[in-house]
């Protein structure tokens, strides 16, 4: 079966985000693959290694230069080929929004005919978590979000799904959309031989304007972006009595 994996280029997880002029300041900031997308790629590659999947295609929507880097990582981890939808618009929700992304993916799914679409559960920039469910809805496919484990064959998958109350075990018929959560796997490092091989892998580059008939205009407008208020320093107390006193009289929680 064919697997389509979505990979998003986001501000590196380890970098402190800066807010300036009512927007996230992306100047000179380190960008990397969304950690949940990394997990999705790892899962797809493992399925290929265990012969469950025949081909893994990585897809990204992003700028010409930056998007290529994200796809190189996906290819170096083991994806077979990639599709790069180029756009210089911001993909962190401010310009390209989940609805537009879902529509593009829907179009690509119709073109490539995969049995499984693997996505990260959410982008760490937008924290939306919407593309998985939206895409499944548009395709009329079942969706499993927050996958924590996955087993199966080319017809159906058995997955554990994270919920606030615990883990659900579900079975789903393919084709399906699955969004990946932290516990699903530990992504591999890109090995040197695979990085070299990745250079020769095919990347199909198309501009986002080729999807103009899909109505990709954002329907949500971001009004304001501010940093959260700075954390207040904690108060050190000298004794249990003082702690009780403060909890009672200052914090008023007991």
């Amino acid at each position: 079966m064919k697997i389509l994996v979505g990979v998003k280029r986001v501000v590196d997880y380890a970098v402190r985000v800066r807010v300036a002029n009512n927007t996230i300041d992306l100047s000179n900031i380190k960008m990397s693959m969304n950690p949940f997308c990394e997990i999705a790629v790892e899962q797809a590659v493992r399925m290929k290694e265990s012969k469950q999947a025949s081909e893994v295609i990585a897809v990204t929507i992003g700028p010409s230069k930056g998007g290529t880097e994200t796809l190189r990582t996906a290819l170096a981890m083991g994806c077979d080929r990639a599709i790069h939808i180029t756009t210089e618009q911001r993909t962190d929700f401010l310009e390209v929004q989940p609805r537009a992304v879902s529509k593009i993916f829907q179009s690509l799914v119709q073109e490539e005919d995969p049995s499984l679409v693997l996505l990260g559960k959410q982008g760490i920039d937008s924290d939306c978590g919407q593309v998985g469910p939206m895409l499944a809805g548009m395709l009329g496919w079942p969706q499993i979000t927050f996958a924590a484990s996955m087993e199966g064959d080319s017809d159906k998958l058995t997955l554990d799904r994270e919920t606030d109350a615990g883990t659900e075990t579900l079975e789903v018929q393919l084709p399906s959309v699955v969004t990946c959560d932290l516990r699903l796997n530990e992504p591999r490092y890109a090995t040197l031989p695979n990085i070299m091989k990745a250079k020769k892998k095919k990347v199909d580059v198309r501009d986002i304007s080729t999807f103009a008939d899909l109505d990709l205009e954002p329907h949500l407008q971001v009004l304001e972006i501010t940093e959260p208020p700075p954390r207040q320093a904690g108060v050190m107390v000298e004794s249990v009595d003082e702690l009780v006193d403060k909890l009672q009289n200052e914090a008023k929680v007991i």
């Binding site: 590196d12 380890a14 000179n28 380190k30 950690p35 890109a190 090995t191 040197l192």
Partner: protein
């Protein structure tokens, strides 16, 4: 043992002198109190897109004044230079109470008179207490890439180092070595990014490579640095100088790879009693000295293991010996190691303490490590600053009577 009292000394802590004064963004000159924690200084500079030129595993607790007093080296010395180069000024309180101001007028270049601050850098508190530091800080590199690679023998490691300097050129920032022994210990705590799969008739298991090297590049342009890194790795792999490796794809992986290297010290410390040696020797001798010690101890103390790692690009090896599971010192083992190891280092033209200093454990070995004329001048300097011998007595230089009786051998 430089900060450990020998008898009934008064311990002075400067941790309350912890104000960061200012960072001039055009020149990169940072002025602060000596009691600022290194990590706090790093966060302050990072916010302003600068970096402190020294970085060590102990950053969460060590103070910048202590780093200066011990001339701390760290992993970026090759790229950013030592504190001798980066410290531009100091305020020091001398043993007689005089406040020596070598800081209020600080410049990147200043050739007016003897460069007194150099005496205090690395003096381990013997000439005075550093209270303020002026440091030159480089701009924060926008791009950091780390490769974790394997070599099948030590000859390849040396070839890899030369190739790294050639191909990576100015973006090479760190080149750290780990031998199989230390990798085996670290593996008990965390996953090593690469390992050999060896198949026996019974099962397949993961063995560590003979040598692993962590290579970091730092630069201002992602594409440029990536191209260089990939060209270097391609060359290294195709010439088989390097037989395996992985390359970081994001900062989290950069940190994870450094975690492996940073855990070398703590891991060996928790394995057994630690006999720790920080030496500078010709890079070609690194494997040889480890083999020499293994051979020497193999006969007398077969339970001891010799592991090594270090800043190979600086010619600095951390040679560690430990008795797994035994946490008490074995005096016979210490005797078997010292002074033999120091003599071996000196014979090879090396330094018995590359970056860890002398303190109270290595000071007596200065009599064989240094020319007596040099030692006598050092003693005179110390006496000039501290005639009553109140600063870290019994440490740093050999005890007086040893110096007087020195005849060139131990």
């Amino acid at each position: 043992g430089g900060s450990v009292p020998i008898a009934d000394e008064v311990i002075v802590s400067i941790q309350k002198l912890n104000t960061i004064h200012n960072l001039d963004e055009t020149s990169g000159i940072l002025k602060c109190d000596a009691g600022v924690i290194l990590q706090d200084l790093q966060q302050y500079t990072m916010k302003r897109n600068f970096m402190v030129p020294v970085d060590l595993g102990a950053k969460g607790s060590c103070l910048i004044g202590g780093n200066v007093s011990t001339n701390a080296g760290g992993q970026y010395l090759y790229r950013h230079g030592s504190l001798h180069a980066n410290v531009l000024g100091l305020e020091v309180v001398l043993p007689d109470g005089t406040i020596l101001d070598l800081l209020s007028s600080v410049n990147l270049k200043d050739n007016t008179g003897y460069d007194l601050k150099q005496l205090f850098i690395g003096a381990e508190g013997t000439l005075g207490i550093i209270t303020k530091v002026a440091l030159h800080c480089p701009r924060l590199p926008q791009e950091r890439n780390v490769a974790f690679v394997a070599c099948q023998d030590y000859k390849s490691v040396q070839q890899l180092l030369i190739m790294a300097k050639d191909v990576l050129g100015e973006v090479l920032a760190a080149f750290e070595l780990m031998d199989q022994g230390i990798l085996n210990l670290v593996q008990q705590d965390m996953k090593i990014p690469i390992s050999m799969e060896t198949t026996t008739s019974i099962n397949t298991k993961n063995e560590n490579y003979p040598f692993c090297v962590l290579i970091e590049t730092q630069g201002s342009n992602k594409q440029h640095d990536m191209e260089k890194m990939e060209e270097f790795l391609e060359k290294a792999m195709s010439s088989e100088i390097c037989i395996d490796g992985v390359l970081s794809q994001d900062l989290t992986q950069v940190h994870k790879m450094w975690d492996v290297r940073d855990s070398c010290g703590p891991v060996v410390k928790s394995t057994g009693y630690l006999y720790k040696y920080d030496i500078s020797i010709p890079i070609g001798d690194f494997e040889d000295i480890a083999l020499e010690m293994r051979d020497r101890l193999g006969q007398s103390h077969p339970s001891a293991i010799v592991v090594s790692w270090g800043h190979i690009v600086d010619g600095n090896l951390h040679l560690n010996i430990t008795t797994p599971g035994i946490f008490e010192e074995d005096p016979s083992l210490t005797k078997r190691i010292e002074p033999y190891i120091f003599e071996s280092v000196i014979r090879r033209g090396g330094s018995i303490s590359a970056e860890h200093g002398l303190g109270q454990c290595k000071n007596s070995y200065l009599t064989i490590a240094k020319d007596p004329k040099a030692l006598n001048i050092m003693k005179s300097i110390r006496t000039m600053f501290d005639p009553h011998g109140i600063m870290n007595p019994g440490k740093y230089l050999p005890d007086d009577h040893r110096l007087a009786n020195h005849n060139g051998t131990l």
